[in-house]
Symmetry: C2
Subunit: 320 residues, 2 copies
């Protein structure tokens, strides 16, 4: 039977104890001290740099309870964060989970949320080691992931050079299309995107790699970040942008513009990166990354993006 | 002239750029990559463990804009987090700042908030290296601090032993009294508490130290955490609890029960810790910690706290 208890009835310390209990089965490699103290303690390895990245999901902005299961909300939250580590070529170490929620929130939702987090955590070897719970009018989930990378080798946004080949893993627009389809009667959400952790680490080891970012806000927004950080421009071949199989037909059914979804759809969590012209071709990259890789254009001197259909109005997800 | 622009008018990327600009003057020792990429990169030092701790301030729960300046809100947020590192005997390395706020929030408030964060960040050598901004109905501030400690030496809650002497730095109840006084007509908030970073590090190096926690939720709640983690009980001498000078008279003016404030008042951020009976006396501890230290009781076998005036009803700040 589903517990209909609320957070208000459970109380803060019992809520924390409940999360601890759910998290107790985790493997904790490299964790000296996990949940339950003032801070978590991670064993540092010689010659490694420590990475920190943080992200939030807010109810009504990034998710709605009635659209998807609490478990799925938790999975999405951790995937978004791990994707940032993937974009730096890093290995996950651990994460913290902060929950702000109204006292009326059913405990069953928190349980689902935590199970979703722990499911992805286990899959990607990234144990939950701490966090915080607090009362708020709006439910929001704040995660911070800690990663590690061989000292001095993290992939950065600023490392594009003029003449680089621009590439992307997987396909673009699928997550946005799935969201559009799910909002129609009888629609269902598709399988979640995966953080490209193995691909990021392989790219980091690739001689001749350039800069990298994950596509969380849409190609246009994230490519703009890359170009601005590196001080160059880009020419994109719009016909080369990789789409999921059956994309055009599904877009027609959903009443969506496929070009718009490919350029501005978020949450695909693919890696957008550059390699020097001398680097291996996309087939060899795909073999090393264990995921399809497509070349979509080149960097040029100057600024801005050439090749946007309809003349380059920037659209993507912004929070204000 | 004060800018009356709102976050909605500024836009997400300009908001991030604004925070980056404010943060640009920071010294960044040990930071390989700060704000502006998918993750921050910290240089790991040989033989060090990495600590992670996270905390949130929610508008209407932990602060109200009309009660205090945005700068003070920012200072309090970072102090609360640094205090967790102090309780582990750690040195701060860096922090991330996540802001969830409604589009109607004036930009001037964010500026004040960030200035407050940066002011404490500079004072305690803990640079801002990343974060996140997002839209929400409620304003909330989520910080994650990263710290470092000589491998294997972090102070823990679980390290009390039966027969330990229980001690506290500074005085208790002052923050709660100041809040009560500030709520009266013409009241003003007093100087902010300080994270006891130097004391925590000195305690960690002390032969014969036991367990440690920071008093953020009140003596009763935090002592209970310590005892539960270590599996023992405590006898406290209520008359020994250190109070600020003039405390009783000020409590009378504010109409507060001094005993209640000393036992349950939060945000003093003093360290509550144990030392073995063979450890140096409080004068020597005070000399090493550079802050007054008071012995308030002893640990005993069993569980629970003896010595609470009025018979031990537990009160403290809980979030649900």
């Amino acid at each position: 039977m589903l517990s209909m208890r609320t957070l208000g009835e459970l109380g803060e310390f019992d809520l924390i104890a409940r999360i601890e209990r759910l998290a107790r089965k985790q493997a904790l490699p490299g964790v000296r001290l996990g949940i339950g103290d003032d801070a978590a303690v991670l064993r540092a390895r010689k010659g490694e740099d420590t990475l920190v990245s943080t992200d939030s999901l807010v109810e009504g902005v990034h998710f709605r309870w009635r659209n998807q299961s609490p478990q799925r909300v938790g999975q999405r939250a951790l995937i978004a964060n791990l994707s940032d580590l993937a974009a730096m070529g890093a290995r996950p170490r651990a994460f913290t989970f902060s929950l702000a929620a109204p006292p009326s929130l059913p405990v069953a939702r928190v349980d689902g949320l935590v199970r979703g987090l722990l499911r992805e955590a286990e899959r990607w070897n990234c144990p939950l080691v701490g966090g915080n719970v607090t009362r708020s009018r709006t439910t929001s989930i704040d995660l911070t992931v800690i990663g590690a990378v061989l000292a001095g080798t993290a992939l950065r946004r600023q490392d594009l050079r003029v003449g680089d080949r621009l590439c992307v893993t997987g396909t673009l627009g699928g997550a946005a299309l799935a969201t559009a389809l799910a909002e129609r009667p009888g629609g269902r959400l598709r399988r979640l995107a995966e953080p490209r952790l193995a691909a990021g680490q392989a790219l980091r080891r690739l001689p001749g790699h350039g800069g990298c970012i994950d596509v969380s806000d849409g190609l246009l927004a994230d490519l703009s970040h890359l170009l601005r950080a590196s001080g160059c421009g880009a020419v994109i071949d719009p016909d080369a942008l990789p789409r999921p199989p059956g994309f055009e037909a599904a877009c027609a059914r959903a009443g969506c513009d496929p070009q718009r979804l490919v350029w501005t759809g978020g949450e695909d969590y693919e890696l957008l990166f550059s390699v020097r012209s001398s680097a291996p071709g996309v087939r060899e990259l795909a073999r090393r990354f264990r995921v399809p890789v497509t070349e979509i254009g080149r960097t040029i001197s100057g600024s801005g993006i050439r090749g946007i259909p309809g003349g380059g109005r920037r659209r993507g997800w912004t929070h204000f």
